[in-house]
């Protein structure tokens, strides 16, 4: 319990900064909604001259992306990137700092099993991410009513916003595992940013090409907002895949952390 509280204190500042950043981006981008909606309406009106097939196709696309939930989904893709970064950072940091700050000897010579040490860390990081996730879900609903003033499917919104939490957890797991495998990480951000960026790029490729392999690789595309809006549920395959990554990642972390040698630095 003392380790859990210690880790929570250590993570407090960064959790606040991340939460505020996510909310700032949410509010900034959502505040453009009315203007973009007007742009779109004006454009749809001047589309009169073009052939009906194309007008219809583009019109549907425009309507979709400028509906409250459609626009929110667009904004959400940026939030998701930051969230993934928070998750990865938290995971990498909570493990690697002991080696970086030379505190591993301190902690590991205390009368605690390695399992109880890693559990305390795991739960503390989980708590930080949960706090960010829950605050974000609540704020996303408030921002939606505030900036769109239109009716929308509340269930779909909550489901979309919750995927931030799931995505953060996946990246948290990856960060945690990475730091357990590579104990001598000197700078957290120089590991987490390139990794998250790589997954983000794979996500872009997935959406440009529709390639299934890219989608499986890119964690960012596991939860398609358009699918959620239409079905008010997640795709089972990707929900299972997420849970599997998290469970396997933590199981591996436990096994490796319990067995590895901790060297003097």
């Amino acid at each position: 319990m003392n380790m859990y509280i210690h880790e929570l204190k250590a993570g407090k500042r960064s959790t606040i900064i991340w939460t505020v950043t996510l909310l700032a981006i949410l509010i900034l981008y959502m505040s453009f909604y009315t203007m973009i909606k007007n742009d779109a309406d004006a454009f749809v009106k001047i589309m009169e001259g073009v052939s009906p097939v194309i007008r219809q196709a583009l019109g549907i696309a425009i309507n979709q992306i400028t509906s409250p939930l459609g626009y929110y989904s667009f904004v959400f893709s940026f939030i998701l990137f930051l969230g993934a970064l928070q998750g990865m950072n938290t995971g990498v940091n909570i493990i690697s700092k002991e080696v970086r700050d030379k505190t591993a000897d301190f902690l590991l010579t205390k009368p605690k099993t390695r399992v109880s040490i890693i559990t305390a860390k795991l739960l503390a990081g989980l708590t930080c991410i949960l706090i960010t996730g829950v605050i974000y879900i609540i704020m996303s609903a408030i921002a939606m009513s505030l900036f769109t003033g239109e009716t929308y499917n509340m269930t779909a919104l909550i489901l979309i916003s919750t995927t931030l939490l799931i995505t953060e957890l996946i990246f948290y797991t990856l960060g945690f595992l990475t730091a357990v495998i590579f104990p001598k990480i000197k700078s957290v951000i120089s590991v987490s940013l390139p990794v998250v960026f790589a997954f983000y790029f794979a996500g872009l490729m997935a959406s440009i090409t529709g390639d299934e392999l890219y989608r499986d690789l890119s964690i960012f595309k596991y939860f398609n907002p358009m699918y959620i809006i239409l079905n008010s549920s997640y795709e089972t395959k990707y929900l299972m895949l997420s849970v599997a990554i998290i469970i396997v990642g933590f199981a591996l972390s436990y096994v490796i952390y319990s067995k590895k040698d901790v060297h003097a630095v």
Partner: protein, 295 residues
């Protein structure tokens, strides 16, 4: 006597590079046990294995009769550890770190923290980041002793401490020892081991090359005699068994002696002495002696 530490054929390989090979020794309750060897000989590897920071390739070690790997957490309740390089958490005050450290042991350590910080003259309200190396070291010492451990493990603990502080630190260790604590003290500085320890193991290139009690090391070794007499000393006056390296210059004689001390004292008593010195050889010389023999 009870074995506090029991190391049996402990081996640790780091790939192909150095490690320890077949290390065995026992530390009895109440001993201050010296563990000595040059840099890179395997002292830290042995200690880190005892603390289950690293795991043995083969062999085993027991502390308080419990297995070092399996019962690591239980064992550590009664171990205090001070590494050569101290650690600190970012942005923590001294007292925060000490309280955090204390929170791992299910007892009230506040009184002991107060005592120790007073002895070490440590300002608990300072941030650890702002402390000098020596002061960080003191935090390490207090941190390692605050729960009144039954076994204190020290890995080259004195670097960075001024002589006065070192004195206090040794005093502290002796007090802990008198209260019943067993101490394993690793060092490459022989004089401090000589001052403190009752028994020692010498390690070189990952292997234990000698285990001796301090007294037998001292007994079994040469004493340096320097004698200045009122009259000239005869060339073969000290020609008895056990004397070597004899040098006689007029009134002065110097030699090394090993054997029954009475025999040489009788010879000395036969002279009119102006001045005499009998010097115990320091560990340095003994150490070199062992090293050369093994090399």
């Amino acid at each position: 006597m009870i074995k506090v530490i029991e190391i049996n054929n402990l081996t640790k390989n780091y790939g192909k590079s150095r490690g320890i090979v077949d290390v065995s020794f026992d530390v009895m309750e109440g001993e201050i046990y010296g563990f000595i060897g040059p840099n890179g000989a395997g002292k830290s590897t042995t200690i880190r294995t005892l603390l289950s920071l690293i795991y043995p390739t083969s062999g085993s070690a027991k502390i308080f009769g419990l297995d070092c790997v399996k019962d690591a957490a239980t064992i550590k309740k009664d171990i205090g550890y001070l590494p050569s390089e101290v650690f600190y958490y970012d942005g923590m005050k001294v007292k925060d770190l000490l309280n955090y450290s204390a929170s791992f042991y299910n007892k009230d350590c506040s009184k002991r923290i107060k005592e120790l910080t007073d002895i070490m003259e440590l300002d608990v309200n300072k941030k650890i980041d702002d402390l000098s190396f020596g002061n960080k070291k003191k935090v390490g010492i207090v941190q390692g002793l605050l729960h009144e451990p039954k076994l204190i493990i020290l890995d080259e603990p004195t670097s960075g401490l001024d002589p006065l502080m070192q004195q206090k630190f040794f005093q502290l260790l002796k007090e802990e020892n008198e209260k019943g604590a067993t101490i394993l003290f690793s060092s490459h500085i022989l004089s401090e081991v000589q001052r403190l320890c009752s028994k020692l193991a010498i390690i070189k290139e990952g292997k234990i090359i000698k285990i001796e009690t301090m007294s037998s090391i001292n007994d079994n070794n040469y004493k340096k005699f320097k004698v200045e007499a009122a009259d000239e000393i005869g060339e073969d006056y000290f020609g008895i068994k056990g004397v070597t390296d004899l040098v006689i210059k007029g009134n002065e004689a110097s030699f090394l002696y090993k054997g029954d001390i009475n025999a040489v004292m009788q010879k000395v008593a036969g002279l009119k002495i102006v001045n005499i010195s009998v010097i115990e050889p320091d560990l340095e010389e003994i150490f070199l002696h062992y090293y050369e023999k093994e090399a």
